[in-house]
C-alpha cells in the first residue's frame, strides 16, 4: 500500500514537473513549399506536431512559407520570439538553418531530410531507399505487364534515392521488369504541381505501366488521381495515402516525418533534446509500407510474406539496398 502511494506521489510529482516544463517550452514548426495539407510530406510533420499538442496540451506555433526567400525570415522570427524548439522538415532549409541556428546558439533546432552540423541542431534523415525497395517489390509482384512507373518531384539526389531503391526492389522480384522514371521539375514548384504529375502518369500508363509510385509531395495527388482514372494502381509516399483513392492505391511508402517532429518536441519538453544526427531506416520503423482496410484486398498474404522476409533481411544486413546519395549513382535503372 505504502509502495503504491509513494508511486502515485512520484507520478504526480513527475506530472507536476512535466507541467512546469510545459509552461516553458514554446515549440514551433515551419512547413515547406508544398503546404501544410499536401497529404504527404508536410502533412506528416503537421500530424507529428498535432499529436504532441494532443498528448501534452502544449500549443505550438506554425508557419507555411510562400517562397524560398521566406525560409530565413520564418526561422529567425520564431527564434527571436523565444520559440524553442523550432522544427522544420525539408532539405531546402539547410542553408537558412546554418545561418539562423548559428545566430541563436541557445535555441534548439531540428531539421528533417538534411544534415546541419551545429551544436544546437538535431538532423534527422531517413533511409528512403529501404522503404522504396519494399514497395518496389510489391509493385513488381502486382504488375501484370512487367512495366511499372516512378514519378519524382524535384530532380535532386534525395528523390533519385527513392527511385533507385524502388528499382532495386522491382528488379529483385522480376529482373526483366521495366521501370519508367520521370521527374516533375527542377525547382520547388515541382512539389506542388498535380496537373503535371497527372500528365506524367498518363504517359507512363500509355507506355504500359500498371503500377506507378510517386515521391513528389503535393504533385502526387495528381499521380494517384490519374492512376485511379486509368484503372491502374498508384503507390503513395511519406504519409499513408491509401485512403486518397481507396482500392486504387496499392500501398504507401511510409516515412515517419511525424515521428521525427513529435520526438523533437517531446524531447524538448522532457528536457532531453539532443543535437547530432540520426538515421531512421526499416530497423527503426522510420520507413515502411502501409497496410489498412483500403488496400487489404489488393495485397495478398504471399506479397506481405515476401516483403516481410525482405524487411527482416535488410535489418539483418543480408540485403544491402544501394543508397543513391552515397556515390550519386544507381547500379540498376
Amino acid at each position: 500500500m505504502h509502495f503504491l502511494k509513494s508511486l502515485a506521489l512520484t507520478a504526480a510529482a513527475a506530472g507536476l514537473a512535466g507541467a512546469s516544463f510545459a509552461a516553458d517550452i514554446k515549440p514551433a514548426v515551419i512547413f515547406d513549399i508544398g503546404g501544410k495539407f499536401d497529404g504527404s510530406f508536410n502533412e506528416a510533420s503537421f500530424r507529428g506536431a498535432e499529436r504532441f499538442k494532443e498528448e501534452t496540451g502544449i500549443e505550438y506555433r506554425e508557419f507555411e512559407i510562400q517562397s524560398d526567400a521566406q525560409r530565413e525570415q520564418a526561422l529567425r522570427r520564431f527564434a527571436q520570439q523565444g520559440n524553442n524548439p523550432i522544427v522544420v522538415a525539408g532539405f531546402a532549409y539547410g542553408s537558412a538553418m546554418e545561418a539562423v541556428a548559428a545566430e541563436f546558439p541557445d535555441t534548439n533546432f531540428a531539421i528533417v531530410d538534411m544534415v546541419v552540423d551545429l551544436p544546437n541542431v538535431r538532423s534527422v534523415v531517413f533511409n528512403e531507399h529501404e522503404g522504396s525497395y519494399l514497395v518496389g517489390m510489391m509493385a513488381a509482384m502486382k504488375s501484370e505487364s512487367g512495366t511499372v512507373g516512378f514519378v519524382g518531384g524535384m530532380d535532386i539526389p534525395l528523390i533519385r534515392k527513392f527511385a533507385c531503391g524502388y528499382v532495386q526492389g522491382v528488379k529483385a522480384v522480376n529482373a526483366d521488369a521495366t521501370v519508367i522514371q520521370n521527374m516533375t521539375g527542377t525547382t520547388g514548384a515541382a512539389w506542388n504541381d498535380p496537373v503535371k504529375g497527372g500528365e506524367l502518369t498518363r504517359s507512363q500508363v500509355d507506355q504500359g505501366a500498371d503500377v506507378v509510385y510517386h515521391a513528389a509531395g503535393g504533385t502526387g495527388r495528381g499521380v494517384l488521381q490519374a492512376a485511379a482514372d486509368a484503372g491502374i494502381l498508384g503507390i503513395g509516399v511519406d504519409s499513408n495515402q491509401n485512403g486518397m483513392q481507396p482500392g486504387k492505391v496499392l500501398t504507401s511508402m511510409l516515412k515517419r516525418v511525424d515521428v521525427a517532429v513529435y520526438n523533437a518536441m517531446m524531447d524538448a519538453k522532457n528536457d532531453a533534446f539532443t543535437p547530432g544526427f540520426s538515421v531512421l531506416g526499416v530497423a527503426q520503423d522510420g520507413v515502411g509500407y502501409a497496410m489498412d482496410d483500403n488496400n487489404k484486398d489488393l495485397v495478398s498474404s504471399d506479397m506481405v510474406d515476401a516483403v516481410e522476409a525482405a524487411k527482416a533481411k535488410i535489418i539483418a544486413g543480408e540485403i544491402a539496398v544501394h543508397d543513391y546519395t552515397s556515390d550519386d549513382s544507381c547500379p540498376v535503372s
Binding site: G35, K36, R61, E62, F63, E64, I65, Q66, S67, D68, A69, Q70, E72, Q73, R76, R77, Q80, F91, A92, G94, S95, A99, E103, I156, P157, L158, T186, T187, G188
Partner: protein, 363 residues
C-alpha cells in the same frame, strides 16, 4: 477632366479605395470565422508597431520602390512594362555574378559594381521587348510578360547548373563572403551608437530613395523627359515634332529595366546574401499597382510602396499570429487591395466627381 480638386484626386480617392479594400478584406476574414478588427490590429502593429516590423516593412518598400519606379517611367511613355518580374530576376543574376567573383574584397568595391551589373542585366532583359516594340510593333505587354517566363526558366537553368552551390540539393548559389554583404540597417545604426533589432533592411534602401530623385529629375527636368512625356501624351504629334519613337521607346525601356533589375540588390545582396530562385517574390507585379496608385510620380510611388510594404509585412505577421488565416487568404487580402487601388479606381472616382460637380453647381 479637372472636375475635382487636386487634394481629392491625390488623397481622398486613394483613401476611399483603401477603406473599401479593407472593408471587403474584413468581410473575407469574418467569413472564415476570425475577428477582422484583431486581424487589422495585428497587421498594423506587425508592420509599424516595432523597429522589427518597421525594418521589414521598409525592406519590402525598397523592393516596391524599384519596381514601382520601373513601371512608372515606362508609363510616362505610355509603355506598359509588365516584365519587372523577369527583369528583376535577371538583375539578381547580375548581382550574383559580381558578388560571387569579388566577394573577397570589400562591399565598398562590390556594391557600386553590383549596382551597375544589376542595372545592365535588367536593362538587357527589357531591351529585346523594347526593340521588338519599336522596330516590329510587337506589343510590349505581350513580349514583356513572355520574357518573365523566359527569365524564370533561365534562372532555373542557371540555379541548377553554373551558379548552383556544389553538393547542395537546393537550387541556390553559395553564400557570398563578407566582401559582398551589404551593411544592414542595424549595422549602420551601430556606427552611430544606436541599437536596432536585426531585420533585412539594408543600405540599398537609400539607393532606392536616390533613384526616386533621379527619376524625378529625368522625367521633369531633362530634355529627354520632356520628349518622353510628349511621346506618351500624343505619339503622332510627338513624332511630327521630330521626336524619334524608336530612340524614346528603347531608352525608356532600358531605364525601366535597369530600375527593376536593381531591386535584386536589396534581396540578393542585402537579405539573402545568396542567389535563390524566387528572390523577386512577386515584387515585379506589385510594382504595377504601386505605379498606378502613385500616379507614376516618384513621391506617389514612394508612398504607395510604403503602403504595400505595410501590407506585405502585416500580412506575414497575420500568417504567423493567426494560422487559421492561411497564406492563400493573405494573398487574397493583398489582391483585394491591389484590385480596389489599381483596377477599380473609377468605382470611387465617378461618384466623387459627381459629388464635387453638384457641390460646385450649388455654389
Amino acid at each position: 477632366m479637372k472636375s475635382i480638386p487636386r487634394w481629392a484626386d491625390l488623397a481622398l480617392i486613394p483613401f476611399l479605395n483603401l477603406f473599401l479594400a479593407f472593408f471587403v478584406a474584413g468581410l473575407v476574414v469574418v467569413f472564415i470565422g476570425e475577428d477582422p478588427f484583431r486581424a487589422m490590429k495585428i497587421m498594423l502593429t506587425g508592420a509599424l508597431g516595432s523597429d522589427y516590423g518597421i525594418g521589414y516593412t521598409l525592406f519590402y518598400t525598397t523592393n516596391f520602390i524599384f519596381t514601382g519606379l520601373a513601371v512608372a517611367v515606362a508609363f510616362h511613355g505610355s509603355l506598359f512594362n509588365i516584365g519587372g518580374e523577369g527583369q528583376a530576376a535577371l538583375g539578381g543574376v547580375g548581382v550574383a555574378v559580381v558578388a560571387l567573383t569579388l566577394d573577397g574584397t570589400h562591399w565598398l568595391i562590390t556594391f557600386p559594381l553590383a549596382i551597375l551589373s544589376a542595372a545592365i542585366f535588367g536593362a538587357l532583359w527589357a531591351l529585346v521587348p523594347a526593340y521588338l516594340q519599336a522596330k516590329r510593333g510587337s506589343h510590349i505587354v505581350i513580349t514583356t510578360i513572355m520574357f518573365n517566363y523566359i527569365g524564370a526558366k533561365l534562372l532555373g537553368f542557371l540555379m541548377n547548373g553554373p551558379l548552383k552551390k556544389e553538393g547542395s540539393m537546393a537550387p541556390e548559389s553559395r553564400r557570398f563572403e563578407d566582401g559582398a554583404q551589404l551593411p544592414f540597417m542595424q549595422d549602420i545604426a551601430g556606427w552611430f551608437g544606436m541599437e536596432m533589432t536585426r531585420t533585412p533592411l539594408n543600405i540599398s534602401f537609400f539607393v532606392a530613395l536616390i533613384c526616386c530623385v533621379l527619376v524625378w529629375l529625368l522625367i521633369w527636368k531633362s530634355k529627354f523627359g520632356y520628349e518622353l512625356r510628349a511621346f506618351g501624351f500624343q505619339q503622332p504629334a510627338a513624332i511630327y515634332a521630330g521626336i524619334n519613337p524608336v530612340k524614346i521607346t528603347v531608352i525608356t525601356m532600358v531605364v525601366s529595366g535597369a530600375l527593376a533589375g536593381m531591386m535584386a540588390l536589396n534581396t540578393v545582396m542585402g537579405e539573402q546574401q545568396k542567389l535563390v530562385l524566387d528572390h523577386v517574390q512577386g515584387a515585379g507585379f506589385v510594382g504595377i499597382a504601386v505605379a498606378l496608385m502613385g500616379r507614376s510620380h516618384p513621391v506617389g510611388v514612394l508612398l504607395a510602396a510604403i503602403l504595400f510594404g505595410v501590407l506585405y509585412q502585416g500580412g506575414t505577421e497575420l500568417a504567423f499570429e493567426i494560422p487559421a488565416i492561411s497564406r492563400d487568404m493573405i494573398v487574397t487580402i493583398q489582391a483585394l487591395v491591389i484590385l480596389f487601388m489599381g483596377a477599380l479606381e473609377n468605382l470611387v472616382r465617378f461618384p466623387v466627381e459627381g459629388m464635387f460637380a453638384r457641390l460646385s453647381r450649388g455654389n
